[in-house]
């Protein structure tokens, strides 16, 4: 267990440094956007990683409702939280890219960025709900809300897609195939970020397990004290 963790941490560190080198130095400079385009190597893999994590959240929420296995609940919580962290990266780096390229910080019609923002809002509200809900019912209602959130995503996507066709705004990345060299760097970065996500989730899982154990112990202790 400990060994596995150390190994993963080392692999992640190596992979991330290699990916950083690839993104900043090895990858060819994009012709129209210049070096700013390199933000792409952090922005896009973060988005994909966040989507993967939200997918895990959705699946484990369903599994929890069927099996009532606390592990599924922990996985749902952890994937949502780490997903929000990666989603935050996407939302922060997005405008930093948009500003020099489009000349504006935010394009409300941009389908991917806006969908990600809505996704971010949904999962933040999910995390707040987990925090605010009382007693032993948190896992069930959280799982229910997670399912609502996940089902909302395609609707958000379509609504923004149609919104954009009515209110045209700059769109990039779509159309035109990616230079194979760039695609390669992109995939390496994605692999690195996936490892990082795994690592963060691992730490968060350990924390959650420990917290629950402490809570349980406290529950019994408080009862014993009250009976004195």
């Amino acid at each position: 267990m400990r060994r596995g963790f150390t190994l993963l941490a080392l692999a992640t560190a190596l992979l991330l440094s290699f990916a950083l080198y690839e993104a900043l130095i090895a990858a060819p400079t994009e012709q129209t956007m210049g070096d700013v385009q390199r933000i792409f190597y952090y922005h896009v893999p973060s988005a994909w990683t966040a989507f993967v994590l939200f997918l895990i959240n959705f699946v484990s929420s369903i599994v929890y409702l069927i099996r009532r296995n606390p592990k599924a609940d922990i996985l749902a919580l952890v994937s949502a939280e780490v997903g929000v962290v990666f989603c935050t990266v996407v939302i922060v780096t997005g405008p930093i890219w948009a500003r020099p390229v489009w000349g504006i910080w935010w394009a409300p019609g941009d389908i991917r960025l806006t969908t990600t923002l809505v996704l971010w809002l949904i999962y933040i509200s999910y995390l707040i709900l987990r925090r605010m809900s009382t007693g032993g019912r948190t896992p069930v209602i959280a799982a229910v809300v997670a399912i609502f959130g996940a089902l909302d995503v395609p609707l958000v996507y379509f609504s923004i897609w149609f919104f954009r066709t009515q209110h045209p705004s700059p769109v990039i990345g779509g159309g035109g195939s990616l230079d194979p060299r760039m695609a390669h760097v992109l995939l390496i970065n994605w692999a690195a970020f996936l490892c990082l996500a795994w690592l963060l989730s691992w730490v968060r899982c350990e924390l959650e397990v420990a917290t629950r154990r402490v809570d349980e112990a406290q529950a019994l202790e408080s009862l014993r004290e009250s009976s004195r």
């Binding site: 700013v36 933000i39 962290v85 963060l200 730490v203 420990a210």
Partner: protein, 41 residues
């Protein structure tokens, strides 16, 4: 070459976000560990 600033800003922001999340996790973990020790007594 002004665009380089944006590039660095984005990369630094990314690492700041991940770094602060990790710090929060480690801190919470330390607190839980202390609590565990206290309960064991």
């Amino acid at each position: 070459m002004n665009s380089m600033h944006y590039l660095y800003a984005a990369y630094i922001a990314t690492w700041l976000i991940h770094g602060s999340y990790l710090t929060i996790l480690v801190r919470k973990y330390a607190r839980v560990r202390r609590e565990m020790e206290r309960l064991r007594k």
